[in-house]
């Protein structure tokens, strides 16, 4: 299931509240733009933990500086991206690192940050991952295969999964955890996922 790129900056009534520092408005903006901001972090940082820390820092900076956004000077999405890029640069500098030479954060248009259409390398990587997951799923008992499809692929809640399988939430929770353990220790799957991990995590 691909994430749809949101084109909506924010509802008109949300922006003034966001600038005032209203928390509800902040989280409305977060929900609308979290994918785009996360993609900035994913472009620069390798590991999920580093990406998460960067995303958190970016949004805390957004919250701190929300009063500096002026709708008359540009779009909210453009402002958010500028804050994100500045923060990412700051984080890289603090780690004694520089952005990769082929990563032009300043010039990259919004479209370049979308993952709707992955480049050839990413497409090949996705293809390998999907094949590995399909192979992994073939070896699962029927009930676990269904839990994989509903809880991990479609990301339904445990209540929804339990209802779909006529099972209990507790059982589905157990099976979901068991699946994760199986997947993280499956040699074939992990071999393919190695390239997605930062070097220290391999």
């Amino acid at each position: 299931m691909r994430e749809r790129q949101r084109n909506t900056d924010a509802p008109p009534d949300v922006v003034p509240a966001f600038v005032r520092g209203d928390t509800d408005a902040f989280f409305e903006v977060y929900r609308l733009h979290e994918g785009a901001i996360r993609r900035v972090a994913q472009r620069v940082f390798d590991g999920p933990f580093e990406q998460e820390e960067a995303v958190q820092e970016i949004w805390l900076t957004v919250h701190r500086s929300c009063h500096t956004f002026d709708p008359a000077r540009g779009s909210l999405s453009g402002w958010l991206r500028a804050v994100a890029i500045n923060k990412v640069r700051e984080l890289l500098r603090a780690k004694g690192r520089e952005p990769a030479a082929d990563l032009d954060l300043d010039e990259a248009p919004d479209e370049a940050l979308k993952l709707d259409g992955p480049g050839p390398e990413k497409a090949a990587q996705l293809s390998r991952i999907r094949a590995a997951v399909t192979q992994f799923a073939r070896g699962l008992p029927a009930e676990e295969a269904r839990v994989l499809e509903l809880a991990l692929v479609e990301e339904l809640s445990l209540e929804e999964v339990a209802q779909a399988l006529s099972s209990t939430v507790r059982r589905c929770k157990y099976l979901k955890k068991k699946l994760l353990v199986r997947a993280v220790t499956d040699p074939g799957l992990q071999r393919v996922l190695e390239e997605l991990l930062p070097e220290g995590g391999r």
């Binding site: 590991g47 933990f49 805390l60 009063h67 700051e90 991990l152 353990v181």
Partner: protein, 269 residues
């Protein structure tokens, strides 16, 4: 803390089953433990791969939102969330939301006392722990223009009086002559009463003693979140760790009787 227990906690985290305080504690551990971080990264990447995708999962987005709400002191929607938060928190009754982490500096029974230039003084643990003596170093600040160029020495505190930084600069804080391991924090209070936490921005702020200088975290961009004006600087050095639960116990930094102001920064455009 066994490896097996850690891995169980990490799986719970990835599944979105940890509460905010537990998640914060876990992330502090992950900041310093490469082994657990490696396993965590592998779990997250695996969960993403199960969707046949490389993007973050909805669970990741929800976890980030929950962490932000915890750090900003905001309830989840549908509960008693305030819809009229002030633009900036006013000291001393509320801390600037983005710096709710500054609240870790001040906890009931906690005492953070700081003195410069190797002078010893008594401190109490942040949670009212045993009295401890920590010899603190001095706080230094350097700056460099956003456009690059040489680093300039801003000041060394205390003793610098009022030092000046520009919003066109990045400012790096550091310590000198810390003689014992300690948990360090640096924060500023601006004209509007907002609290800015400069260090730590992640992790527990633990510093090992050094003979020379040690940088404290990342450089600070004073163009973000700061208006031109005056910022009062506070340095905190404690012998006991700052517990993660303190992040939700908001206290005004300078209301604490043993917090110490070390200097003033004048922020200019």
């Amino acid at each position: 803390m066994s490896l097996l227990w850690n891995r169980r906690r990490l799986r719970k985290a990835v599944s979105g089953e940890l509460g905010p305080a537990e998640e914060l504690r876990l992330r502090q551990h992950l900041s310093g433990c490469a082994s657990c971080r490696g396993y965590y990264d592998r779990l997250v990447v695996t969960a993403r791969a199960m969707r046949g995708d490389l993007n973050a999962t909805r669970t990741e987005a929800a976890r980030t939102e929950a962490r932000l709400r915890s750090l900003l002191g905001s309830a989840a929607p549908g509960r008693s969330a305030s819809s009229a938060a002030p633009t900036r928190a006013r000291f001393p009754f509320r801390l600037a939301p983005a710096f709710a982490l500054a609240s870790v500096l001040v906890v009931a029974g906690g005492a953070l006392v700081l003195r410069m230039r190797g002078e010893e003084h008594a401190t109490e643990g942040l949670r009212g722990g045993p009295e401890a003596r920590v010899a603190a170093g001095s706080l230094w600040a350097h700056a460099r223009s956003r456009e690059g160029g040489p680093v300039r020495v801003v000041a060394e505190f205390p003793g610098a009086g009022e030092a000046q930084v520009s919003q066109r600069e990045y400012v790096q804080f550091g310590l000198r002559n810390l003689t014992q391991p300690g948990y360090v924090a640096v924060a500023g209070v601006d004209d509007g009463g907002a609290v800015h936490l400069y260090y730590p921005q992640s992790g527990d702020g633990r510093i090992e003693p050094v003979d020379g200088r040690v940088r404290l975290g990342r450089s600070i961009d004073f163009a973000i979140g700061h208006d031109p004006g005056v910022v009062r600087l506070f340095l905190v050095v404690s012998s006991t760790p700052i517990p993660p639960e303190a992040a939700t116990d908001v206290r005004a930094l300078t209301e604490h009787p043993e917090a110490r102001e070390v200097g003033v920064l004048k922020v200019v455009p």
